[in-house]
Amino acid sequence: MMSRSRLLTIARKELRHIFRDWQTLVVVLVMPVMMMFLYGYALNADAKDIPCLIEDPSPSPETRAIASKIDASSLFSVEGSVFTADDPAELFRLYQVRVIFRFPPDFARDLHRPGGAHVQALIDGSDPNMGAIIRNAADPILLGATLDVVGMRQPHVLDVRTLILYNPEQRSALFFVPGLMAVILLMISALLTSVAIAREKELGTMGQLLVSPLRPLEIIVGKILPYLLLAAVDGFLVLAVGRLAFGVHIAGNPWFLAACSLVYIFTALSIGLLISTIAKRQQHAMFMALGATMMPTVILSGFIFPVLSMPLPLRILSHIIPATYFLEIVRGIILKGVGFAELWKPLAALAGEGLLLTAIAIRKFKVKL
Amino acid sequence: MSAEAYSIRTEQLTKRFGHFTAVDHIDVSVAKGEVFGFLGANGAGKTTAIRMLCGLLQPTSGHGYVAGFDVLKESAKIRTRIGYMSQKFSLYPDLTVSENLKLYGRLYGLDGKDLRARMEEMAAFLGLKDLLPRLTSSLPWGWQQRLSLACANLHRPEILFLDEPTGSVDPVSRRNFWDLIHRLSGQGTTIFITSHYMDEVEYCHRLSIMIDGRIAAMGSPRDLKREHGSASIHELFLKLMEHQPLMEHGPRPEQKPV
């Protein structure tokens, strides 16, 4: 079998390499923490105080009152008003407003006549998100403000009440932490490992190791062990910062989480190993790891972008990526507090992929040696 | 004191990296047109000394004068007057032979007709004429070394610094290389050459032996052999090594990148 002391010698050597490369180490440890802080504090999606303009050819107490009600809402903030907006496009270009509320001439007069008055919202659609939010909000706000001013009640035909599950305070950190774990563990286990092995091949030191008493299996395991450790440390760091700085508690069983993470790490390590057998130089390993694992994972796993909204071919690709399943599992455990009973399907998929990749990787490695 | 008499002169030149002294207060002088052998074992401090003289490294203390200019304060003036060939091949493998020559010619201020004329001259001198359109990476090692020498010499420098130019080269090529060096010296170029091959340095006009950062001996080969009663420089070197306490400074620490 494997000699423990020889294994540990290789592992220690690899660990020393890792610590000497402080630039990479800093990035690997600091980047997830930085992302969490950014996402947690800076990247809030709540739209508020959207700057808007009023077009009011015949100002009246009514139009002014409506305008101030719009301004008083948390969603909009009236930046100013113009008599006419002949060239609304230029107005949008010059001033950073996102919507122009347009009163027609003699609005106040029409208000009290049969047939009523009309008021329009012209929306800057360049940011479609904001555009949609404003479009959904424009009618109700205009209607509500006007009815208020004339002393009528808003017709509430239908009231939609919402209950947010799993993340009642809508904290984005809660959503982000699992995805971050998946990406970081992949980065360490696949990217760093493949580059480390490829580097030894490139420098020729691998040949040196192979002629020593070391068995090939010992070399692989010895090299991989420190990265397994680093991945565990980084994963733990992410959870710890998530807990301490953002109050992200693990609703489910932490040991189950650890077990599933190990399965994922092994899958990622196999990918790293596989890449290192294919790549002849470090640079190739880097680009392969980035292009074939990191990029698809970040984009297609559901980490940031909702997979369901993507076209079918991409959704299929998403189901090939191990991270997609891991993400489902981690989110289930951390946010929903569910366990094996609900998560056995993605876990089986992940484990299956892991075994397959490990088998392929070890076979390729043996052949190459 | 006129530094102009000497091509290269150092006064107590020293370089320290942390606690480790790589070059320890050396006094070296090289006359114009001389072939000067700068000897020492691997790790003795030769490359560090050469890099200080070329302006690539700043001395910790002491002075160095190259072509009459101070290495610390007037390095820009020195650069136009010297050529440098480093131990590791440092031309561009993905350029052709003629492109590498053109590059270095231009960097040294040669242009147009003058550049082309010099390129032809150097190519002929070093036997590179047929290799001009070839990709540098396709050349065997010995020819790559010749190219390095050509590039270092295009601008007719006063002094050529050659760091281990004959490392890993076969004996016949080495002999040819030394012929070329002596021809250059005959044309008036000062050659400052480091080596750890004790046999080929018998061809130098003068040489110095560096041990653990200090100059242990300096003079013409004949004078030194007579002084120390040795039949060869190799023997002389071993004798000097015996008298020095080994590993005084401990193993060389890994030099941190700049």
Binding site: A42, A47, G116 | -
Partner: protein, 393 residues
């Protein structure tokens, strides 16, 4: 001086030989644009939804029909009980559950009825406080998507309700505007269909250009450091600034070429319009590249190997990107964060490019952003130059 031109010439001579890299430089951005263009949608589609209907009346059935037929949602059917609905959410089979209370049809009937009011003027039940309600249970893990999906569904439900109201009023021979004194409307400028790709693709172009200029420049210098060729250059009369600018210029040109390629690809494949002028585009891009090239050069002074250069640049760029308004608008960020982004060149370029693409803005409208980019660019490039010079001497 000769030095600049010589280095630029050398860089092109080397690039010409590196056919693999050239091919990658063209292919990878296209592939990325393709992938990201489709994947980076902030629209929320195909949200799986199920309904729990306690009501036996016809109105609730009509409501469910409206939801089931809506293309934005993936109707998964009815749940048997609240536990059942909850289980579906727990398993992730559905993302939203719609619960219709038992008296829905009856209450809605009253709300849309026209009562004879005091003095003979008819008044709408709804205006007198009658109103039906439904409840949504939303999977809130992904706060952004949840909000968007909830907004869509809410809008659909309200639209149905208003439609129902109008229909009822027609039965009385009345129109909505006879009951209400005002009607409202909304229209959209610049991106009428609110297409996500139109917004994201200029952003992707920014990322591509930044990657090419920063990464390739950084790699180029670190490679020469690793190989020892940089040292050989510094023995010659060449000055550090010649090396830096000489290396930056070819990558500036390549970056601009990439941008043009991306622009045309976006136009022909995704149909994203470019409404600006090319002159303005080039000017602003060049101003931006001072920063991106500077970052590449700065990184080369920190990294010993190419892998380190990759990680460091990645780190910087991710930081800048998250705070650039690429995903979420800068205006929605806390004020102190917004102040920090004033120094972020990616933020300015992102804004400029989007405005140019979609609104056709130019120098008159964007000169402030241009100035900001120039100021930051000179700062970053200057700093990188100083650090580089110090390192090689």
């Amino acid at each position: 001086m000769n030095g600049f031109r010589t280095i630029v010439w050398k860089e092109f001579a080397q690039l010409k030989r590196d056919k693999t890299s050239l091919r990658l430089m063209i292919m990878i951005p296209m592939v990325q644009m393709l992938l990201l263009g489709y994947a980076l949608t902030t629209e929320v589609k195909n949200t799986p939804v199920a309904v729990l209907n306690h009501d036996g009346g016809s109105r609730s059935r009509e409501l469910i029909e409206a939801v089931a037929h809506n293309p934005l949602f993936n109707f998964k059917g009815s749940a048997a009980s609240e536990t059942d609905l909850r289980a579906g959410l727990d398993r992730g089979d559905i993302k939203i559950g719609l619960i219709i209370p038992a008296d829905f049809s009856r209450v809605l009937e009253r709300a849309t009825r026209l009562d004879p009011g005091p003095g003979g003027t008819p008044s709408l039940g709804a205006l007198n406080g009658e109103g039906a309600s439904v409840q949504l249970w939303v999977d809130g893990q992904d706060a952004n998507s949840a909000n968007v999906a909830r907004g869509y569904l809410g809008a659909i439900l309200n639209q149905w309700a208003m439609g129902d109201l109008r229909h009822r009023l027609e039965g009385y021979g009345m129109r909505l505007d006879q009951v209400l004194p005002v009607s409202t409307g909304a229209s959209v400028l610049f991106n009428p269909s609110l297409k996500s790709t139109w917004y994201m693709i200029p952003g992707i172009a920014v990322i591509l250009v930044t990657m090419v200029t920063a990464l390739l420049t950084g790699f180029s210098i670190v490679r020469e450091k690793e190989a020892g060729t940089l040292e050989q250059l510094m023995v010659t009369p060449l000055k550090p600034i010649h090396v830096v600018v000489g290396k930056a210029v070819p990558f500036l040109i390549i970056g601009i070429a990439e941008l043009m390629l991306a622009l045309n690809f976006a136009r022909f494949w995704f149909g994203v319009p470019f409404r600006g002028t090319y002159i303005a585009l080039l000017a602003f891009t060049a101003a931006y590249m001072l920063s991106s090239l500077g970052i590449g050069i700065l990184t080369s002074t920190l990294a010993r190997t190419q892998q380190q250069a990759l990680f460091i640049i990645w780190f910087f760029l991710l930081f800048f990107l998250l705070l650039s308004g690429f995903f979420l608008p800068v205006e929605n960020m806390p004020h102190w964060v917004q102040n920090v982004t004033l120094g972020n060149p990616v933020r300015w370029f992102m804004h400029v490019l989007r405005e140019m693409f979609l609104k056709g803005s130019g120098f008159t409208e964007l000169w402030r952003e241009g100035l900001a980019m120039l100021a930051i660019g000179f700062g970053v490039f200057g700093l990188s130059l100083v650090k580089f010079s110090r390192q090689v001497s």
